[in-house]
Each structure stands twice: as structure tokens, then as C-alpha cells.
């Protein structure tokens, strides 16, 4: 990590009775970093975010913001601001009054206050909508008001609780780009909670993947996708073919194994530690398997039978069986060569990228 730490999460636990909502979390989030908490619903990501904002308290452990312990400090005294999932736009106030809500307490004087509200409206491209009431806004506009209302307070850290989940697909894609630009432009730390892996991959500097109250991996998006630490992480971040293997051996930073029906393969561990080699598993992403068309030549030829075919427009996903492999494999192919016309039940020849095998903790 390059920047100095803005947020330190130290051994944070949260229990509700016997249920451990958060289990000994540790993370350091840098100044100016776009950090995502990614995981399925109920994994504790929102609870952690709310703890940083001061809406929940850890059962044990502590959270530091800017080097200062946040123990017992209420939300109104923290250098954080939050964009709520429901946006929480005050319906009895108009857009300008919503944005000015927090400024009122700062007693900036009317001129300065109006200036900041104007700037905030420009920043989120809502100029001219100041007098509108909350119920006259579309979902996307309300999201921008929530963003402006938080940013106008000039927080050190902006917390975003699934801010895009209520928007339709196109608007969501547009807002992802805008949020990322905004974050680079103002340079403060953003912490985003999301269950959408593509959102996390496309927006974040680093991602913490969480399952059932624990952080499974913290790394940059490329590392998370290309070199997931565990089977669960791999599974959550898009498709992964898990392979039956024998004679799996780890030697220093390398591993090699025999995959029945596929052949002898090898790979490297990158920065990963495999604590228990006996439960380790080898996988390959569907896009790293390719069909070998007639007339083409390739190394590593494997015969496979097409079991199922799913058409997705620009790509086709084929489910194939390979003799010796317990599970079916999935292949994603572009439709340029007619992958969408391969009959189910036919035999095809496939190949793989020799460096694409990943070893994960099972």
C-alpha cells in the first residue's frame, strides 16, 4: 500500500448472542483509497461499514480513523459521511435544503453555505434542481442528492452502502464510472459495500471479500480475480472450473499436478500461502479454456462432450464433460466462429492456457 493509513480495523468482533456477525476482522485502508467490501448478503459487510460510521459498536476490538480511536464517538462527531442504501433523502426538505442540512450546524454564514450547496449541485450534475422536493426526483437523482449531501460536509471518508443497487442496469454502469471519477477528483477515501462482483472489480483499488463474518481475502481487483485465495472467493468472483486432480505437489512457489483427462499441469502460487495442501484445489476460469476449431492446431488438446449450451448474445457458455473429471467444465467463447451453433451432445476439442491454472485453499 502506498498511502498512509486512514482507517485501521483491529480485531473487530461483533456477536449477537451466540451468533458471530463479525469474527476478528483486521484491515487497513489507505488515504485516498477506493476500498470495497464485497460479499453475499448476511456476510457482515454492512455491519462493518456501519461500525466505521458509528451506527454499530464492535463487541470487541477497535476502529481507528486518521490514527484516532473511534471508541464511544457518535456518528455526528466522526470524520465520515454515509450514502445510505435507501438514500434517506429528507422528504420534508427540498434538494438544496437536503444538501445544506449538515452545513446548518457549521454556521458558515448564508453566503458560504449557499456557495457550497451550489458547488455540490454542480459536482453531482443537479444544477437547477435545488428547489425540487424529494418525491419529485428519480432514483438516480436521489442517489446524487444523497452523494452531494454527504460530500458537502467534506468528510475524510465517504461510506457507500450499496448505493447503486436500486438503479437499473444502464444507470448503474454510468454511476459506477462517475463515482470512480468523483473519487479520483476529490481524492478522499471511499468505502463501498456491494454484493456485485463486477461493481467491486471495476471501481476499487482494493477489495475485501467477506463470507460469514470473516474476511477471506484483501487484494487488488486483478489479484482477487486471477488468483483467488480460496474456493469460496473464486466461486463468488465469476465462474470457476474446479478440477479433479491427483499427485498435487507444492514445491516452493510452484505446484504441479496430474488432471485426469486433461494432463500434467503446473503453475505458481504467486503471493499466496496454502496452509493445508491436502485440501487445496486446482481451478481454471472458463474464459481460459478454448475451443479448437477444425484446421487449427494447439498444444494440450482435450476431447470433451457438449452437455449444455447457453447463449448470452456476445458470448456462448458451453458446459462440457471431460472423461476423468468429476464435474462438468464450463467454457465461455465469443460467437465469432459459431460457438452458438455447436449441437448439444457432440464431441469437440478444447485447449487451455498453460499458465492459467490456479491453486486455491478448498
Amino acid at each position: 500500500m502506498t498511502a498512509s493509513p486512514m482507517i485501521e480495523i483491529r480485531n473487530v468482533d461483533k456477536s449477537f448472542g451466540n451468533f458471530k456477525a463479525l469474527d476478528t476482522l483486521n484491515a487497513t485502508i489507505g488515504e485516498g483509497e477506493f476500498f470495497s467490501l464485497l460479499g453475499p448478503s448476511g456476510c457482515g459487510k454492512t455491519t462493518l461499514l456501519r461500525m466505521i460510521g458509528g451506527f454499530d459498536t464492535p463487541s470487541s476490538g477497535e476502529i481507528l480513523i486518521g490514527g484516532r480511536s473511534m471508541d464511544g464517538i457518535p456518528p455526528n462527531l466522526r470524520p465520515t459521511n454515509m450514502v445510505f442504501q435507501s438514500y434517506a433523502i429528507f422528504p420534508h426538505l427540498n434538494v438544496s435544503e437536503n444538501i445544506a442540512y449538515g452545513l446548518k450546524r457549521l454556521k458558515l454564514g448564508r453566503e458560504e453555505e449557499e456557495k457550497r450547496v451550489r458547488e455540490a449541485l454542480v459536482q453531482v450534475e443537479l444544477s437547477g434542481l435545488g428547489p425540487r422536493m424529494g418525491n419529485q426526483l428519480s432514483g438516480g437523482q436521489r442517489q446524487r442528492v444523497a452523494l452531494a449531501r454527504a460530500l458537502v460536509m467534506r468528510p475524510k471518508v465517504l461510506l457507500l452502502d450499496e448505493p447503486l443497487s436500486a438503479l437499473d442496469k444502464n444507470l448503474r454502469a454510468q454511476m459506477q464510472v462517475e463515482l470512480r471519477h468523483l473519487q479520483r477528483q476529490i481524492g478522499i477515501t471511499f468505502i463501498l459495500v456491494t454484493h456485485d462482483q463486477y461493481e467491486a472489480l471495476s471501481m476499487s483499488d482494493r477489495i475485501a471479500v467477506m463470507f460469514s463474518g470473516q474476511i477471506a481475502q484483501i487484494a487488488d481487483p486483478k489479484e482477487i480475480y486471477q488468483n483467488p485465495a480460496t474456493r469460496q472467493v473464486a466461486d463468488f468472483l465469476g465462474g470457476m472450473n474446479f478440477l479433479t486432480s491427483s499427485q498435487l505437489a507444492i514445491d516452493g512457489r510452484h505446484f504441479n499436478a496430474v488432471l485426469p483427462g486433461i494432463g500434467e499441469i503446473s503453475g505458481h502460487l504467486a503471493g499466496k500461502e496454502i496452509s493445508d495442501p491436502s485440501s487445496a484445489i486446482i481451478g481454471i476460469r472458463p474464459e481460459r479454456l478454448r475451443i479448437v476449431w477444425e484446421g487449427e492446431t494447439a498444444e494440450h488438446l482435450v476431447t470433451a462432450r457438449v452437455v449444455d449450451r447457453n447463449y448470452f448474445g456476445e458470448v456462448t457458455s458451453l458446459v462440457v464433460g471431460v472423461e476423468g473429471q468429476a464435474g462438468h467444465l464450463s467454457i465461455v467463447e465469443t460467437n465469432d466462429f459459431g460457438a452458438d451453433d455447436i449441437p448439444v451432445g457432440s464431441d469437440i476439442t478444447i485447449t487451455y492456457d498453460g499458465d492459467a491454472f490456479i491453486i486455491m485453499q478448498g
Partner: protein, 268 residues
């Protein structure tokens, strides 16, 4: 030709009869209050306003009306304040005894009022308190709070708790949040609660009868007047005014609530 009328017809006839029987006696009240006869009997004798005119010079009645106003306003205000506290606790916090607490708040609704009245009388006299409008207000509070809590709980449930969190997040204190977000958002429910409890207190007889001592409220005064047959038309006139006032208040409350609700409504 059908032998039996359709179920739809039967049901609508039933509803019409039901409503008619329920409200017919109430409608008779204003009719006879304008009738130029000392006894409320058909056929009607002729139109007059003298029973209403007779009320205006009646100091005892005006005193009772003033008492009712004091009791009604105090009970409505106190009940709504207590209701806000209780409703917030019920909707925003999970604590041991939550179920028991809310059942106990609601209990006066199903307890026979006369039992409550007698128990209160015994306790208040036992404490050495003198019966006055204050004791009536305390009694009315007991039966008004359940209505306030019901109205305000739905008010709290109707708005997203993250509104209050957003206010705290934007630097506002707990008290500031109450003032700048919670109360404005609850305004429709608060007005409903005030008007509903005021109306309940205004009409309430049993508790007022037991607890009012020498200062009668309007219903207690009316009951006293019934002993004099000659005063009956005046009572009818007074009753008609009360009905009209209650209707206006409750209609106003409902209209205000709906208007505010539309204003608060956010598209999902």
C-alpha cells in the same frame, strides 16, 4: 326469474340497514334540536333556534365547556408527548419486556372503564389528592395514550430509520435530529394523535363523572341536565354542537394526515 336475490344484493342491503340503524338515532339529535317543542316527539312542530339561543346565556354550561376544553387540550398534549416516547421505543429499540410494555400501554382499551374509574378514585383518594380537573386529566391520559401510541407507532413505521441515522451522520445531535427530522416527519401522526385524543377526552363520561369533583366537564354537565325534562331540548342542541365539532375535528385530522402523507411519499 330468480327465486333468491344475489348474494351481492343481500350484502349491500345488509350494509345499508346496518349503517342506518347505527346512525339514525344520532341524526335524530340535530333534527329535534331545531324542533319547536319541549318534547322530542314526531310530528315535528316547526323550526326554531331558541334552544341554541338558550345555551348562550347559560353560565354553568359555559363553565363545563371551558373545563372540557382544558381537560381535552391537556390530555391530548400530554398523551401525544408520552405517545411519541413510547412509540419510538417500541419501533426503534429491541429490549427485554418490549411485548409486556406495549400490552400494558394498550390494556386500558379493553379494561372496563368503570373499573378503571373506581380504581383510580380509590387510589387518588387514598393518596389524599383532591378531585379536580387534574385528576380528570390523569384519568383521561390513561385511555388516550393507547390511541396516541397506535397512531404514532404507524407514523414511526412509515418512515425509514435511516433518515434519523442520516441526520446523525450529517453532524446533528440526537436532540437536533428529533427536532429537525423526527418531529417534522411525524407531523401528520402527531396532529392525528392530538385531534383523536382531544375528541376522546371531550366525549368521555365515566372517568370524568368519578374524578371531576365539583368541576363538571361537558358530558357530566349534560348528564346532570337530563334530570330536568324541560332542559332536554337544550341538551339536544348542545349535543348537536358537540357532534358537529367532533366531525369537523376528525375530518380535519384525516385531511391533514392524507395531505401530509402524500407530501412525504417517496417513490420506491
Amino acid at each position: 326469474m330468480k327465486l333468491l336475490p344475489s348474494p351481492r344484493r343481500v350484502l349491500s342491503t345488509y350494509v345499508i340497514l346496518y349503517v342506518a340503524i347505527l346512525y339514525f338515532p344520532v341524526l335524530l339529535l340535530p333534527v329535534f334540536s331545531f324542533n319547536d317543542s319541549a318534547t322530542p316527539m314526531l310530528p315535528l312542530a316547526g323550526f326554531t333556534l331558541k334552544w341554541y339561543q338558550g345555551l348562550s346565556g347559560n353560565a354553568a354550561m359555559l363553565g363545563a365547556a371551558w373545563n372540557s376544553l382544558i381537560v381535552g387540550v391537556s390530555a391530548a398534549f400530554l398523551s401525544t408527548v408520552l405517545g411519541i416516547c413510547a412509540a419510538r421505543a417500541i419501533t426503534r429499540h429491541r429490549f427485554r419486556g418490549l411485548g409486556a410494555a406495549s400490552s400494558l400501554i394498550m390494556a386500558p382499551l379493553i379494561l372496563p372503564e368503570i373499573i378503571i374509574a373506581i380504581s383510580l378514585l380509590v387510589v387518588l383518594l387514598g393518596l389524599g389528592l383532591e378531585l379536580s380537573l387534574v385528576t380528570v386529566i390523569l384519568g383521561h391520559l390513561l385511555i388516550c395514550v393507547p390511541y396516541s401510541v397506535t397512531v404514532l407507532v404507524s407514523g414511526f413505521e412509515g418512515f425509514d430509520p435511516s433518515m434519523e441515522e442520516a441526520s446523525r451522520d450529517l453532524g446533528e445531535t440526537a436532540f437536533g435530529t428529533l427536532r429537525r427530522v423526527t418531529l417534522p416527519m411525524l407531523a401528520p401522526s402527531i396532529v392525528s394523535s392530538l385531534l383523536v385524543t382531544f375528541t376522546i377526552s371531550l366525549d368521555e363520561f365515566i372517568l370524568a363523572f368519578f374524578l371531576s369533583g365539583t368541576e363538571p366537564t361537558l358530558p357530566v354537565y349534560i348528564w346532570g341536565q337530563l334530570r330536568f325534562a324541560a332542559k332536554l331540548p337544550n341538551v339536544l342542541a348542545l349535543g348537536s354542537i358537540l357532534i358537529a365539532a367532533s366531525l369537523v375535528l376528525l375530518t380535519a385530522a384525516e385531511l391533514f394526515r392524507r395531505r401530509a402523507e402524500r407530501k412525504m411519499e417517496l417513490r420506491p
